[in-house]
């Protein structure tokens, strides 16, 4: 079994339940490494990884960078918002240049849906999608799955509602695929102007009111509401959004059971989530962050050794 995930990790839609479980099973023991005094294993020694971020991102980039460093890879960060890309260089040229520098893996974040696949189709290196447009953010989806599985033991028959701006959310799509493949029931809740019209065809329930979602769910994954959605005319105001769709202590208190609270961050406290919920007893938001590093280590590990160049070099050596 030399390529358990194939060459790239582009999204969860195309992974099987077995592959997803394998990533989670691999990530679990890796958490221990981050507890050690020397938080480093030599697994990816000599591998070169480029973190190619065409969009501002602090938390995902840092999480990947920690994961890479804890696996002993050599990493280079390219914040492409300030690089030659804005000077008219196409993604094709970027890809060719990377290839010419003999790198082993690329972690790419890009504002355009499909950009990770575009790159993966054109270079031999492993490509990890760190978020492409409004398509997928597979490692975020995986860390959410790991966080829930740790709490529940299994996702089978559990009910997870994704709340907020599903239309523009890559996190939502990765969550929907991952959760469904592992047997959970999935719902979305938010203003219809922020839900894709065909969302039910993806096999999820839809709740128009957050109260209904809270009554139904075992966990809420609360998406960040991009502030530009208001200027874009999708919702009238943040104030009203919080009043109608915000996850508040008061609303949660009416629930019959304990509901786990997830949020991919960064949070707009007082908009989609209130502080006493974010910091409350059922919040697993910081577990998500911890698990993020382990998930990314697992993905790096499972993709490594599947790079043709590395394999050739090893044979030659």
């Amino acid at each position: 079994m030399t390529a358990p995930l194939g060459k790239d990790l582009l999204g969860l839609e195309r992974l099987s339940a077995e592959q997803i479980s394998l990533i989670l099973d691999t990530a679990e023991p890796l958490k221990e490494i981050s507890e050690r005094t020397i938080k480093k294993v030599p697994t990816l020694r000599g591998a070169t990884i480029v973190n190619l971020f065409f969009e501002a991102s602090t938390r995902t980039r840092i999480s990947f960078e920690f994961a890479e460093k804890r696996m002993s890879a050599d990493t280079v960060n390219v914040a492409a918002a300030t690089s030659s890309v804005t000077k008219g260089e196409t993604l094709v040229d970027t890809a060719r240049n990377l290839e010419a520098m003999k790198i082993d893996m690329v972690v790419i974040r890009h504002p355009s849906s499909g950009a990770a696949q575009f790159l993966a189709d054109r270079i031999d290196s492993n490509v990890i999608n760190a978020g492409d447009g409004t398509h997928e953010h597979p490692t975020q989806g995986l860390l959410d799955l790991l966080t829930l599985r740790e709490r529940w033991g299994t996702l089978a028959a559990k009910r997870v509602c994704i709340c907020g701006d599903v239309l523009h959310s890559r996190v939502a799509r990765s969550n929907i695929w991952g959760l469904k493949k592992l047997g959970a029931e999935v719902a979305v809740c938010g203003p219809r102007s922020l839900l894709p019209g065909a969302i039910t065809e993806l096999g999820v329930h839809v709740f128009d009111r957050i109260e209904q979602a809270i009554e139904w769910a075992d966990a809420l994954n609360i998406l960040r509401l991009q502030l530009e959605r208001m200027t874009g005319g999708y919702i009238p105001s943040l104030r009203e959004y919080n009043r109608v769709f915000g996850v508040t202590r008061e609303r949660l208190d009416r629930a019959q059971r304990d509901i786990l609270i997830l949020h991919p961050g960064p949070m707009n406290r007082g908009v989609e989530i209130d502080s006493d919920v974010a910091d409350g007893p059922h919040s697993v938001i910081l577990d998500q962050v911890t698990n993020g590093v382990a998930i990314r280590m697992a993905v790096l590990y499972l993709l490594a050794g599947n790079s043709p160049r590395l394999a050739d070099a090893a044979k030659g050596g």
């Binding site: 390529a3 358990p4 099973d25 023991p29 005094t37 697994t43 697992a298 394999a311």
Partner: protein, 182 residues
């Protein structure tokens, strides 16, 4: 053609072997003070548990135990790709000043032990590290020798030696497989 199979140790022989190994470990350590048995995933962990049980029976003392998964320290990731499942590493005590006995089922090339030594070093600096194996089948590729050996056999390079333990395999047995498909 199926590989030919011969039994190296049956259940009773394995039991005797483990008892003797436990005695040797205590003797080499001059008692049980500061002794930590660290099994290598997977079957080394069960063997370490058996050895600890024997020591407990003989000496009335529970020795400390740990587990090492060396998957992430292997030197063949780039050639054979990732092993699908990474096991748990669990070193429950500070290893400074301790006598660590690395326990594994079979000693062959020595590469696993090399990886275990590297991994152990990332947890601290033990006073001493020894190696105990159920079977030493020869064929070393690195300068590594065991301190405690259950059974020494000279198996050809293409043969396979499997140690079965009841906890994982439902039976206690050591088997040598030779010929095609071994």
């Amino acid at each position: 053609m199926a590989p030919s199979e011969s039994i190296v140790l049956n259940a009773r022989a394995l039991e005797r072997t483990l008892s003797r190994m436990a005695d040797e470990i205590v003797e080499k350590n001059d008692g049980t003070d500061d002794l930590v048995l660290v099994g290598i995933q997977r079957r080394g962990v069960q063997v370490a548990a058996r050895l600890a049980a024997v020591i407990k029976e003989r000496e009335g003392v529970g020795v400390m135990r740990g587990a090492l998964d060396i998957t992430l320290y292997r030197d063949d990731l780039q050639t054979v790709g990732p092993r699908p499942v990474v096991g748990r590493t669990d070193i429950p005590v500070a290893i400074e000043g301790k006598h660590i006995i690395i326990v594994d089922d079979v000693l062959f090339t020595g590469r696993t032990v090399r990886a275990a030594l590297n991994e152990l070093a990332d947890f601290g600096r033990p006073a001493r590290v020894s190696l105990a194996v159920v079977v030493d089948r020869g064929g070393r590729e690195l300068p590594i020798q065991p301190d405690v050996v259950g059974k020494l056999i000279d198996a050809p390079k293409d043969a396979r030696v499997d140690v079965f333990v009841t906890e994982l395999d439902g039976r206690d047995e050591v088997v040598l497989l030779q010929g095609p498909g071994a």
